[in-house]
Amino acid sequence: MLSNLSLRYKIPLRISILILIVVVAVTVSLLARSSLIFKQDLSLSSENMGRIMANTLTGALLYDDVWKAYEIINAPFSVDSKNGSLQADTVIVLDKYERVYVSTAPRQYPILTDPALKDDEIASLKQKLSQHDPMSPVTIEMPGLGNIYVVTPIDSDGVLLGRLVMLYSHEIYIDRFLSFMRQAAMTAVLIIVFLLPFGVYWGRRTAAPLMELSKCMGQVGTSITEIPDCRILKGGDEIGQLGTQFEHMIEQLREKEALEKQMVVSDRLAAIGRFTAGIAHEINNPLGGLLNATNTLQRHGAQDPLTRKTVSLLERGLLQIKETVAALLVEAKHGAHAVTHQDIEDTRTLVMPAAQKKSARLHWVNGIHQPANLPSTYVRQILINLLLNSIDAVPDNGRISCEVSTTDGVLRIATHNEGEQIRNNDLEHLFEPFVSGRESGRGLGLWVTYQIVNTLNGSIEVSSGEDDTEFVVTLPLRQAA
């Protein structure tokens, strides 16, 4: 149950419990200590008081002056100091026969009576006293919540004249204890009131980065790329390190996912390539025969108009098949010359009419100043395909740019257009044949481009944002033979 509780609550709860335990423990130990000290104080101060009183009482007992003895033991009571001071409840002077000589509670302990007769506690006190040296003061606490008795001998020249018994009710002890407890409880409550919010705040602060991390981790599941940026606290402590590691991990996962996606696309394209190439070969052989046959039929066959028309239709259809198959089947064509500045400019001339038709502005940068060692036909075809696609995608009066350059042994073609963003789903199948985002066209342009780039060991990247779609083709220059 508790183990399932969020750290958001668990840490503040634990801190709060700790605070409570500490406060309670400190309070209890202080109480225990203070009650012990109070008992010692009571014993010490009353024994001192007893000694002083006993000294003064010696004369009164010696001269048998009951009233003087009464005035001596009653002196502390005549001062109104009951509140707070350690004052005995009752003081009794016993004579040497242990009868009451005089007491401050004469009705309870009348003169010359045996106090033990009516008072069981005094009876047990007498019993306990018999075990002590009569000439030394002693403090006796009755069991349970009985009274505390401080007994001091009254002697003259080593002869015991009587005993001074000071009776302290347990109530003063309890009163003291209760008042101290109230004070301690109040202090404890104050401390708790001040500390608890701190504890809760602190706990939450401690838990917060973990919460954030946990939230981010919770989102890792279906897709890494969809995780929004996490505000993970960075720092040297464990949580900070965890955050850094987590971010690192997310980064790697993202790269891995992107790579995997790319590989899937490449694999699919390669499979489709092999498949189409196979079909194209299979189609090409009979196609050659069919074309030969129609050719022969046109030249030497029946000349009636229906047959001629039919044969002509057949030939056109077969030629279209050939063209399509030829488009699917990209083969390295050797013998083409290296790409020159003029080749690139020719391409521009070729696409200009299409661009003007849409009043699109074409920004052109031709960075080829000396021949680049790549088959010019292929490069031109790539360039034409990309540009025609861009012109197609761009709205009227839109803007297209094209940059061709060679750097570090690589030919780089980059085209931009202001067309609509390509949807994610479409991006995955962009380079597959017969896939077209538009109603016109066969959807072979990018397929062909891809095949050519592959053949030339290059790469092609697409990125599409709002109003900006970019195709970048990089082709490694061949080493001059």
Binding site: D65, W67, Y70, P106, L112
Partner: protein, 286 residues
């Protein structure tokens, strides 16, 4: 600096005035020594100061009140001429009659007489006489007191009781007001007290007397008198007597008498104390 000057000047002025006063009202060096006993509320020190000032002004001499804890101490001082006058009880007066001169007798409720009261705690509603206090604790005021000792002793004696064993315990408080305290607090089950002191206490400290009950009032005896030791010279004796008996004649004197709860002082005569002398005769001296 200015302040200091001022203080110095004031100091000088004060000395000058004090000096002039001393010159104007020269008091002889030997003071009149008056012994007082707890036959009245002698613990009222502020009252004593006022009374002393009053007497000094009338006698043109310094006056010293001497207080001792027992009647006997004052009697000893009188007999050894350490005192000139004293306010004592009628009992020692009759015992040492030949060494003393009767100076004045206070007048209380119109006559120079007073009574002894037998008191018990107010919780005791049964006791009707001293005989009801058998085996109880009893408080006397002073062995030389008539009302606080001689009277109850006589009562026991007259009833044929053994005065030494009648009570379980008896003790002296050495002052009448303390007998009232002892009984009020229950230290003693009964006590004998000067009726005048009890009545006066009932006025100044009614809570205390309310905790006691007067069981019995004795017959009337001569009020504790002011006496002079027999060697005091006549003029001094007369002057003192005049001052005391003249107290009702001026406002300050009347105010002081009111605080004493007395009407005044009379010259009195020895026969006032015959009753006490009779008791003393019938009860053997301790």
């Amino acid at each position: 600096m200015r302040t200091r000057h001022l203080v110095c000047s004031l100091g000088a002025l004060f000395l000058l005035i004090a000096d002039t006063a001393a010159v104007e009202n020269p008091l002889p060096q030997t003071p009149v020594r008056i012994g007082i006993t707890p036959v009245f509320l002698d613990y009222q020190t502020a009252f004593l100061d006022d009374w002393r000032e009053y007497l000094e002004a009338r006698l043109h001499r310094p006056v010293v009140f001497k207080q001792r804890s027992t009647y006997r101490d004052i009697m000893d001082m009188l007999l050894t001429q350490d005192l000139d006058f004293a306010w004592i009880c009628g009992y020692p007066f009759v015992r040492f009659r030949q060494h003393l001169r009767l100076l004045a007798v206070p007048v209380y409720q119109g006559e120079p007489l007073y009574q002894s009261y037998l008191i018990v705690p107010e919780t005791d509603t049964d006791t009707r006489s001293i005989l009801g206090l058998r085996d109880k604790v009893f408080a006397y005021s002073d062995p030389d007191s008539n009302s606080g000792y001689l009277v109850p002793q006589f009562q026991l004696h007259a009833a044929g009781e053994d005065r030494n064993n009648f009570f379980r315990r008896s003790f002296f408080t050495w002052a009448h007001q303390k007998v009232v305290e002892a009984v009020a607090r229950g230290v003693a089950d009964g006590g004998a007290v000067d009726g005048y002191v009890w009545d006066t206490l009932a006025k100044v400290n009614p809570e205390l007397t309310a905790r006691t009950r007067v069981v019995m009032k004795s017959k009337k005896f001569g009020f504790p008198p002011f006496v002079a030791q027999h060697k005091v010279d006549d003029s001094e004796f007369r002057r003192m007597q005049d001052v005391l008996t003249g107290m009702p004649n001026d406002a300050i004197g009347r105010a002081l008498l009111k605080r004493l709860n007395l009407d005044g002082f009379s010259q009195g005569n020895d026969h006032l104390f015959d009753g006490i002398a009779e008791l003393a005769k019938s009860v053997p001296v301790r």
